[in-house]
């Protein structure tokens, strides 16, 4: 995609290249919200295509969409609900890690809350799998812990 040549900084766009080689445009003011991107711009200049090795073409457009709304001050509860509505738990997870890598604070906090909401009533087994956590308790230790906190195990959703 050809980069827009612009004399005013407010409409300047930055080119971002994902880990799988695709290029996306983002406005400079939106790029500022992602501290990692801003640092790379400061180091490499804003005329170069900024390489983002750990973000891929599936996630970046979604992130750009979020920050496009952010710079116009249009992020509402309804927008955020709509934003995650069709994402499954794994897709949100990947987006969250990308937001972390990009140091995009607002999106990071929003997705933390969204993941927490999704995990709130899930079982221990589901959450282990979700985060890739290995269970290092012995069966006896685990059943003791479960017994002590039996009340916290009530009302859990069935794993899909």
């Amino acid at each position: 995609m050809a980069q827009e040549a612009s004399s005013s900084t407010s409409s300047k766009t930055i080119s971002l290249k994902t880990g799988d080689g695709e290029i996306f445009e983002i406005e400079a003011s939106a790029a500022k919200q992602m501290k990692t991107v801003q640092r790379l711009i400061d180091d490499l200049g804003d005329d170069i295509t900024i390489p983002l090795h750990n973000v891929f073409s599936k996630e970046l457009p979604k992130i750009i969409e979020y920050y496009k709304k952010d710079i116009t001050g249009e992020i509402t509860k309804d927008f955020e609900a709509e934003f995650v509505k069709d994402l499954n738990d794994d897709e949100v997870k990947v987006l969250f890690l990308a937001a972390n890598y990009l140091d995009a604070n607002k999106l990071f906090e929003f997705l933390s809350q969204n993941i927490a909401d999704r995990l709130e009533s899930k079982s221990v087994e589901y959450v282990r799998k979700y985060f890739g956590v290995e269970n290092d308790f012995t069966p006896e230790e685990e059943s003791k812990l479960r017994e002590e906190r039996a009340w916290s195990f009530r009302g859990i959703k069935e794993d899909e």
Partner: protein, 430 residues
């Protein structure tokens, strides 16, 4: 094709966990040993605490109610049943209150006082609730317990002390110096929770104040109040005039006790004598703060202080027609009192009640409880009922809650109620 992450950093998981409700967090202690450690780590507890105030603010309905004890004959119509009084709490979320002000509550034995050997709820701070018990046989005894209802952990009793009541010698008149009341807070500079016990000592004709720090569990006597809190010498722990915890201080509305006053007949109380007495839990010394200068006319009911949106506030009825709330924008700075709200009783839809003099004297009570983050919605506790008034400042809309108590055959009758602001935490009771 995006590779799936093989490693999810622990601190990121900590961030996600810090906005979960306590019940889920405690369940996830079973994930692995390192998560068990993470969740009980003071740094995580503090992070969760900070977020909890915004996450899911709640109210505790503090209720007095009758507990039905089936009679010896177990008659089917319960005609030989006896009743005992117990106190308890019923937590509910403010968010769900806004979504649906009409809901049902029921008494859960888990939240009752008697089975914990206590009789009153002193206060809550950082998700911990301080309970107190007392009894009298040879001595007037007091004790405390610290309870975290979210983690379901309660401490053993502590802070036990007793006072002599009975005369050792019949020639000496009956000795009983006065009932102690309690307040609970935290010295945030050292994360030390403290309990304050105070009373009016009839014999010494001054207040006795003592402080206990959790950890060393020793009562230390400190100076008397410079000005006595309202109703200091009343025998009950009166929620309206209890100490109010705020940022490492406990605050009371006070009036010099040389002034004879009657809470039910306020017309002769000199309004300029009111002051806020603030006990600094860090230094264990007092400060005094004047009330707003424009507060110059004594209302029919004694005003109250409360917390709203992270400021200390002062509220009262004005001429029976309006309700006014002042905010101390900068705590401790008397010049920073700002009138936050003046709303007519008509707009609050309580003006009908105010035509009844008896009601005004004995039942009327309006206590600001909570202000939404955007500053638009105010929740007010009204009278002794468990209904609250939800008032939207922006569009002047009023809604009354419609909380109904579930009554089953052997269930309790919920009586007098008050509401307190509360939020869950993982803070340890030890």
């Amino acid at each position: 094709m995006a590779p799936s992450p093989v490693f999810f950093p622990e601190d990121l998981i900590g961030e996600i966990f810090s906005v979960l409700p306590v019940k889920s967090i405690l369940r996830f202690r079973c994930l692995s040993k390192s998560y068990d450690t993470l969740i009980s780590h003071p740094v995580f507890v503090k992070l969760h605490l900070k977020k909890s105030t915004l996450q899911n603010p709640q109210f505790l309905l503090i209720t007095d109610h009758d507990v039905r004890i089936p009679g010896p004959g177990f008659s089917p119509d319960g005609s030989d049943a006896e009743y005992d009084r117990d106190r308890g709490i019923i937590p509910y979320s403010i968010r769900s209150l806004f979504e649906n002000p009409s809901f049902t509550i029921s008494v859960d034995p888990f939240y009752l006082m008697e089975n914990k050997g206590c009789s009153r709820i002193v206060g809550s701070c950082n998700g911990l609730i301080c309970l107190a018990g007392d009894s009298y046989d040879e001595y007037q005894k007091y004790w405390l317990r610290l309870w975290n209802p979210a983690t379901r952990i309660i401490s053993p009793t502590f802070g036990y002390f007793h006072e002599e009541c009975n005369p050792r010698d019949e020639d000496i008149p009956f000795l009983f110096d006065g009932y102690y009341k309690f307040s609970f807070g935290c010295d945030n500079s050292t994360d030390t929770y403290k309990v304050v016990a105070y009373r009016y000592n009839k014999r010494q004709r001054r207040s006795n104040v003592r402080i206990l720090s959790l950890g060393d569990n020793v009562w230390r006597d400190i100076e008397s109040f410079p000005v006595d809190p309202i109703l200091l010498d009343s025998p009950c722990q009166d929620f309206e005039y209890d100490g109010l915890y705020f940022r490492s201080t406990i605050n009371w509305l006070a009036i010099p006790n040389e002034i004879d006053y009657n809470v039910y007949d306020t017309k002769d109380i000199p309004v300029e004598q009111f002051v806020i007495v603030s006990l600094d839990l860090m230094t264990e010394t007092y400060n005094r703060y004047l009330l707003p200068r424009d507060f110059d006319e004594m209302p029919h009911r004694i005003p109250t202080i409360c917390l709203l949106g992270d400021s200390l506030c002062f509220s009262y009825f004005y001429k029976k027609t309006d309700f006014i709330i002042w905010q101390m924008k900068k705590f401790g700075v008397e010049d920073s009192w700002t009138q936050f709200l003046k709303v007519s009783c008509h707009n609050l839809q309580i003006d009908d009640d105010l035509s009844d003099e008896h009601f005004i004297k004995y039942s009327l009570r309006l206590e600001p409880l909570f202000l939404s983050e955007d500053g638009d919605t105010l929740v007010l506790d009204y009278c002794q009922d468990f209904q609250a008034i939800i008032y939207n400042r922006r569009n002047n809309r009023v809604e009354r809650t419609n909380i109904t108590a579930l009554r089953r055959i052997n269930d309790d009758g919920i009586g007098r109620c008050t509401s307190k602001y509360y939020f869950e935490s993982l803070v340890s009771v030890f």
